[in-house]
């Protein structure tokens, strides 16, 4: 595995790359709050099969640049970064795999540059989070539905959640988030009770080692969470800027996978969207969605071999 910095779109992006330099590129896009590292089990597997696996730390994360302004974190900035990375590595179309925010960015990548994407495997976040009529601001709708303590609402005020994380400690935050398995929308009461008492140990599941946790902790201690949280602070602005794509369909062959314990699967309307006709209407080339029983949000880390197999089985068709 090679670690490289690619400069494009005004930022240096750290990428982990493995596989033959002429292999078809598989771009793996992480979410919040993880890193390129969340694909550690899929990268070698893809490389061994002759693919060129490329996993960036997104803007704001890990060893990539984190511009200070909140306005530098719209989905247009992110897709701009990814286009710069892809263009630096290949002129061909690429395979894209996304998880969480990475899945949302992957949907936008397919909307903006279908000419660059051969096929898409998206994990956890369906296209129901795509562009909507701009008269309703997404954050207003979320706040109305889930209240002010819904995690996305708690992320809005610059510095607020960062101060809370600093007080609770990055180690506890990393462990608490990665082990979260409650099949309900994430509520963070302002009394910090979500994180549990300071002396409570948080045991790790079999799929997460102390080394894994230590890696995440070290990177988030270095960088902080502001970069990643800034993505959420652009929710309303993203929707405003996505006007040209309201009602636009995804025209890329797509595989979608979600765990049935994933909090996203339990957002109101999510199951109906995923299993009903709307998802297929919006994404005509969507294969039958896969729901993995007993699996929570961090699916590519919890079920690494299964996810690798799903990716490989799908992209080998193209």
């Amino acid at each position: 595995m090679e670690h490289r910095k690619i400069r494009g779109n005004g930022v240096d992006i750290h990428v982990a790359i493995q596989g033959p330099s002429d292999g078809p590129v598989v771009l793996l896009i992480h979410g919040f709050p993880t890193l390129w590292y969340s694909w550690r089990h899929q990268i070698p597997g893809l490389a061994a099969l002759g693919y060129r696996a490329v996993a960036p730390d997104l803007r704001g994360y890990g060893d990539s640049d984190a511009p200070p302004e909140i306005s530098s974190y719209t989905c247009f900035h992110m897709v701009g970064d990814l286009i710069a990375i892809v263009s630096a590595l290949t002129e061909d179309k690429v395979f894209v795999v996304g998880h969480d925010w990475g899945a949302l960015i992957a949907w936008y990548l397919c909307l903006f540059r279908p000419d660059k994407v051969k096929a898409l495997v998206n994990l956890s976040v369906p296209f129901s989070f795509g562009p909507k009529d701009s008269t309703v601001k997404p954050l207003d709708a979320l706040r109305k539905f889930y209240g002010d303590d819904f995690y996305m609402c708690r992320f809005q005020e610059a510095g607020e959640i960062e101060a809370e994380i600093a007080e609770v400690g990055v180690e506890r935050v990393v462990r608490k988030i990665l082990t979260y398995r409650t099949p309900r929308p994430l509520i963070l009461p302002k009394d910090k009770s979500f994180w549990g008492p300071k002396d409570e140990t948080i045991p790790l599941p079999s799929w997460l080692t102390e080394e894994d946790v230590a890696y995440y902790v070290s990177k988030f201690q270095e960088k902080g969470y502001t970069g990643g949280v800034n993505y959420y602070r652009n929710f309303d602005l993203n929707n405003e800027l996505l006007g040209p794509w309201v009602g636009c369909k995804i025209q890329v062959p797509t595989k979608f996978v979600i765990g049935d314990q994933d909090l996203v699967y339990h957002f109101p309307g999510a199951k109906e969207y995923i299993h009903g006709p709307k998802f297929k209407e919006d994404v005509p080339l969507l294969e039958e969605p896969v729901v993995m029983e007993g699996v929570a949000h961090f699916i590519n880390q919890e079920k690494p071999q299964e996810i690798l197999q799903i990716i490989v089985d799908f992209i080998s068709k193209f």
């Binding site: 779109n9 900035h77 897709v79 701009g80 710069a84 263009s87 540059r113 006007g243 040209p244 309201v246």
Partner: protein, 315 residues
């Protein structure tokens, strides 16, 4: 002119005033700065007679359409969003598109980001240039033409509005529309103190026309239109995803040989020697109109109608 219908359409969070006439395949006309739907008054009537439905909105910030207060609401993404919403509300899947000046810039971007909504494009006065990832556009203009270049003078909110206010409205509008100067428009503050009286109105720009523009711009002001320039750098930042992408819509490009844009160094070579075609591979025709200035659809309405019709007939 009475046959032209005026409606208000709710789109992309704004109310948009739209002038329309006729029935048949839809042609969408996009005006520039400092202009209005009215720029297309001749074409609206002609194309209705030719069996088309001709539609010309006041773009966001202009005339009888909404003008959100912040310049950040005037990126190319906002304007294209307005137009896609307009097409959706009209039930139009694919449109024939005509653009002039800023309308041409918007048209290029509409073809770049929603090529599926555009059947063919006739664009006028402003060629397509791909984004330079290393240099913001306002800084590029400043380096090329200096800080008195109009794009640079338009940046500071309120500044140029103050200069404009020193000049009689009709005199200002006459200056904008009828100038045949081919020099890059540099407008130091001093220009507004001693603006010479313009020559008599040309035949194609009547007292009635001047009054229409004077009326609308006195009401609305210029800030809405100026905000497009103030959002140039922001638009640049947000359009990174489309670096390297060609515009894949059939295009006809028209410019007057007295248009200042045609005299920007390098432009003639760019248009005629393959530069533009590299980025717009389906560029089919290029027309340079002799002795014609910037507002060509008003200066030579019949010729422009013929050029547009000749091209759109093919689709």
């Amino acid at each position: 002119m009475e046959k032209i219908e005026h409606t208000t359409v709710s789109t992309n969070g704004i109310n948009m005033h739209v002038a329309s006439i006729g029935s048949g395949p839809v042609i969408l006309f996009l005006h520039g700065f400092p202009d209005l739907w009215y720029s297309w008054r001749h074409q609206l009537l002609s194309f209705a007679d030719l069996g088309y439905r001709a539609i010309a909105p006041d773009l966001r910030g202009y005339g009888d359409s909404d003008s959100p207060p912040s310049h950040e609401s005037y990126t190319v993404l906002h304007i294209v969003g307005d137009l896609v919403g307009l097409l959706d509300s009209l039930g139009v899947d694919q449109v024939l598109l005509v653009g002039h000046d800023w309308g041409a810039i918007i048209a290029w971007w509409m073809c770049m980001i929603r090529p599926d909504r555009v059947k063919a494009l006739v664009n006028m006065s402003v060629e397509f240039h791909p984004r330079n990832p290393s240099v913001k556009p306002v800084e590029a203009f400043k380096a090329l033409f200096g800080e008195d270049y109009y794009v640079c003078r338009f940046q500071e909110p309120g500044d140029i509005e103050e200069d404009f206010a020193q000049v009689d409205t009709k005199k200002l509008i006459n200056g904008f529309f009828t100038s045949h100067s081919t020099r890059p428009p540099c407008i130091p503050k001093s220009v507004f103190k001693y603006l010479p009286d313009p020559p008599a109105l040309p035949a194609w720009f009547t007292e009635q026309d001047i009054c229409f523009y004077a009326d609308k711009f006195s009401q609305k002001g210029y800030t809405g239109g100026l905000n497009y320039y103030r959002a140039l750098n922001l638009s640049w930042e947000l359009t990174a995803p489309w670096d390297g992408l060609q515009i894949k819509v059939p295009v006809k490009y028209i410019v007057g040989d007295l248009d200042p844009t045609y005299h920007i160094p390098g432009t003639k070579e760019y248009i005629h020697e393959g530069g533009l075609k590299k980025h717009v591979p389906f560029l089919q025709e290029v027309v340079v109109m002799e002795g014609v200035g910037h507002f060509l659809q008003q200066e030579k309405p019949n010729e422009i109608t013929d050029h547009i019709y000749g091209f759109f007939k093919k689709f």
